[in-house]
């Protein structure tokens, strides 16, 4: 057997079923007597519900029916945070367009939608508050009338930086905005709930990244013991964070399945997703950077606001974005004086939830555009100012100003590698020469360091309701000599059915094809907080290794008995146990001995058998920091405001790569989503809070012609903190494209006096910025 363990780019085990159209998504499940759900949703951003008229016939439920179900309430131990109460179905008020007011059930979705049109809801419209400034006005309408204002939380990292800032010779101030986005997995949310009397359980098939956590949510909502709930997350058509929280619609579906004692299914459609699910990344802020004449940043002063929407989500809360942004804004730079202030603000938009990398794209955006602004102020190349400020390899491990320990890496080498691949001098020459098509050329850089594998230490300081602890996995030898591994995380595109088998292969020397992964089922797997925050490969990879090692210890005396050698002489390779003098014995023989012919077992074997659960958490669990440099080259059309990406390189380091092909896929896919953030994706609302981008023809996802052939320059700096040196990579690619592309656009339009600070850089925004710059120049002229 060639090496198929850690480091091998073996093809994915999960591909075959998908390539034959045999994946099993929630929408593919059918049940006799199934009822489908359509929700009646609010047409208003802010209104009081005066009354609801039900149709004469048909199954319709409203808040009055769900009186026993408590509202969603997420707690976090942060000063200045007060939880919101989100009803499962709106009762007194609606707080965003698309909020569910009633649920209608019928034999098909079409019939359920027919029924929903017969439900009458009387509203008294209230003035909506949509942006941060409006929401914070003293006389602003309050969303939640039991609160004194529209603030969800205030989080500040205060520091005495004023004297240092004042003494600095260079001052740069910039304002930044990041548009609200929809995560837009191709499959929306999906759930099928049914009561199983044999098991005495509510059995829920749901597209959920964190099945065990979702079970906890249902236990609270339905007042049901966790043993009486089984969550099965089958194949999922993309998550990206969208399928990590507990949503009211899913709770309502489970409630109805119990109430009716019938299977009930709800499949979110695209219109629902782009209205009620328009829920990510709306962050704006102002950055003051104080630098020396060379461009060294002496002090950084940040003030930002998160437009969190109407409610605080469960379990991590709406304050999570600000916590994360404050911690990571300084990025890979040596910044020793830092102050950050934040407000998380409630508005009449859908509740914001974490999307791939949570607040890090906005944090990186603010930092990286500021670095370029400093470079302009001191008259240097942006890469020179970066090099001046980057933490060096010699400084590792580096304690950041926000208390994070950057465990390992060579950030300057990452920058050099990306720059060398892009050939900056050549582009500078092309930039200076006039082009036949009149387009302007620009080069932009963005860098980040990403906190992955965050664990008890990090979440513990935040006091979140459910924090990750020791990750556990179960490994067992089957009677015929293969391996089954059960894990509490859920695989939805990350390739974990392959990579976790590679970890087992690394430990046990068995072909990954002989390792079967069980995941996504609370009835079959150890508890886990799930697949989010780039944690699964770090934490669960360690757990699978630990379980396989313990299993090896149990197999060793049995193999020794079969080969008549000492247990310590037994090794594992080529899918067999090996002994002295070239002796080998197949795993099938070991399985036969234990399971089928235990009369032949030697005395003194461990009666616990060949089925073990073991756990893992890094001894120092403060996290492993992946890092990356993105460099983009663009051509900007000044007449149409369009942007073409001419070249794009990513120098990425996520420590030891279990399967480089899969890592590349994660980086490419994340970068593509980031290009969407940079140039295309924006949930637009009109002045009354009506969403305007409610089809995929209005909300533009990048397609094959928008994403260039991104060039990857991977390196591997193993983390000294984690098993095998693995760092997380799932989210990283999505962080840097917006600042890299905005910096490139600003570089292209520098002569025009344009400096955009708002993403996405749509043609409208680019043309408006050119127009404003022209006006400013004309105004400045005598």
């Amino acid at each position: 057997m060639s090496h198929k363990g850690i480091g091998a780019s073996i093809p994915r085990k999960e591909d075959e079923r998908f390539l034959k159209g045999r994946g099993e998504y929630v929408g593919d499940l059918f049940r006799p007597g199934l009822l489908e759900v359509a929700f009646v949703r609010s047409p208003h951003a802010h209104a009081r519900i005066l009354g609801i008229t039900r149709p004469i016939k048909g199954i319709v439920y409203t808040a009055a029916d769900l009186a026993a179900v408590p509202p969603i309430r997420a707690q976090i131990n942060l000063p200045g945070y007060r939880a919101t109460e989100q009803p499962i179905l709106a009762d007194r008020k609606v707080l965003f367009v698309g909020q569910s007011v009633a649920m209608c059930l019928a034999k098909s979705r079409a019939l359920a939608e027919d029924l929903s049109e017969e439900v009458g809801v009387d509203y008294e419209e209230l003035p909506p508050v949509l942006d941060v400034a409006d929401a914070l006005r003293p006389d602003a309408p309050r969303l939640h009338e039991d609160r004194p204002d529209n603030l969800l939380s205030v989080l500040n990292a205060e520091a005495p930086i004023d004297a240092i800032a004042a003494a600095a010779p260079v001052h740069v101030t910039r304002h930044y905005t990041n548009a609200r986005q929809a995560m837009a997995p191709l499959e929306g949310r999906a759930i099928l709930a049914e009561w199983n009397d044999r098991a005495d359980q509510l059995v829920v098939h749901v597209g959920h990244q964190n099945p065990h956590v979702f079970r906890a949510a249902l236990a609270i909502a339905l007042n049901l013991e966790e043993r009486r709930i089984r969550i099965i997350a089958p194949d999922i058509g993309g998550g990206f964070g969208y399928k990590a929280p507990a949503y009211p619609e899913e709770i309502a579906v489970c409630w109805a399945a119990m109430k009716l004692h019938r299977p009930v299914r709800w499949i979110e459609d695209r219109f629902e997703h782009l209205t009620a699910g328009a829920s990510a990344r709306e962050i704006s802020g102002t950055v003051h950077a104080h630098a020396d004449a060379e461009g060294r940043i002496l002090a950084l002063d940040v003030d930002f606001a998160v437009n969190i929407g109407a409610y605080s989500f469960w379990p991590h809360t709406g304050a999570f974005e600000a916590v994360q942004a404050i911690g990571i804004i300084p990025g890979p730079y040596r910044i020793r004086h830092y102050r950050a202030r934040s407000k998380t603000v409630l508005t009449n938009k859908p509740p914001q939830t974490p999307y791939r990398a949570v607040a890090r794209p906005a944090a990186c955006f603010m930092m990286e555009l500021t670095i370029d602004a400093v470079a302009r102020a001191v008259g240097k190349e942006p890469h020179e100012v970066r090099a001046l400020n980057l933490v060096s390899a010699a400084e590792m491990p580096y304690a950041s100003i926000t208390g994070k320990l950057y465990d390992s890496g060579d950030y300057p080498a990452s920058l050099r590698s990306a720059l060398s691949a892009i050939d900056l001098p050549a582009w500078r020459l092309k930039q200076a020469a006039p082009r036949a098509d009149g387009r302007a050329i620009g080069v932009g850089i963005a860098m980040y360091t990403e906190h992955t594998g965050i664990s008890t230490n990090t979440f513990g300081t935040m006091g979140i309701a459910l924090m990750p602890g020791y990750e556990q996995a179960n490994a067992r030898l089957t009677p015929d000599g293969d391996i089954e591994v059960a894990m509490g995380v859920q695989n939805h595109g990350q390739g974990m059915e392959t990579t976790m088998a590679q970890v087992a292969s690394e430990v046990l020397g068995i072909d990954p094809g002989r390792v079967r992964l069980l995941h996504g089922d609370t009835g079959l797997t150890p508890y886990s907080t799930g697949t989010y925050a780039s944690r699964a490969m770090v934490m669960n990879g360690g757990a699978v290794a630990a379980a396989c090692e313990r299993l090896a210890e149990r197999m060793r005396p049995l193999a020794a008995h079969l080969m008549q050698c000492a247990a310590h002489e037994v090794g594992f390779s080529g899918g067999r146990a090996t002994g002295p003098g070239g002796a080998t014995v197949g795993f099938g023989e070991i399985g036969r001995l234990w399971y089928k012919t235990p009369n032949e077992l030697p005395p003194g074997v461990d009666p616990a058998g060949l089925d073990v659960t073991a756990g893992y958490r890094p001894e120092d669990d403060r996290g492993a920091f992946s890092y990356s440099t993105h460099v983009a080259v663009v051509a900007v059309d000044r007449d149409f405001g369009s942007v073409e990406i001419l070249d794009y390189v990513v120098a990425d380091d996520c420590g030891t790569r279990v399967n480089p092909m899969i890592v590349d896929g994660q980086v490419l896919g994340g970068t593509a989503q980031g290009i969407g953030t940079a140039l295309y994706e924006e949930c637009l609302f009109d002045a009354s809070g009506q969403p305007k981008s409610v089809t995929l023809a209005d909300y533009i996802l990048p397609g094959p012609t928008e994403i260039p052939a991104i060039r990857l320059l991977p390196t591997e700096t193993p983390s000294p903190k984690t098993r095998f040196g693995i760092k997380g990579v799932g989210e990283g690619g999505a962080i840097a494209p917006a600042p890299a592309l905005l910096n490139a656009i600003n570089d292209a339009l520098r002569a025009d006096g344009v400096e955009l600070g708002a993403a996405p850089a749509t043609p409208d925004r680019i043309l408006a910025a050119i127009e404003i710059a022209r006006g400013a120049r004309a105004g400045a002229a005598p």
């Binding site: 390539l19 194949d235 998550g239 695209r270 094959p704």
Partner: protein
Amino acid sequence: MPDIRLSVNGEAIEESAEARLTLADLLRERLHLTATHLGCEQGVCGACTVLVDGVPVRSCIRFAAACDGQAVQSLEGLEHDPVMEALRAAFTRHHALQCGYCTPGMLIMARDVVLRLPDADPARIRLEMSGNLCRCTGYLGIIEAIHAVILARRG
């Protein structure tokens, strides 16, 4: 009395079909052929692409009644198609899928590109595939996989 008669993956089908029944819902909900996925039901994302009389069609915005007398092929019906076999192998080799949700529509469209455009280069393939959205991969693997099949067929 059936409303429509059509062939699905070579099998004769007779179904009642209310006017609003889409081809996608006919395939998925009536015939339980679930390889055809619904990503937007607005005719944009391409996940529901099937062949109708050999031509790629978005089954989410094609009424079933409009397919009366036509031959429909979904991914299930192309399992043993030699081009599809080559595409499946290339998609795995080039890591052209992650969550798998867009994959059936991608494959049906890719097969059409391979058969229709034997000289297509990566830029042309991107243009031809621009009606199919993938949220996971960043498309590079998909484009490379299709190009590899085209090159292999060229010999």
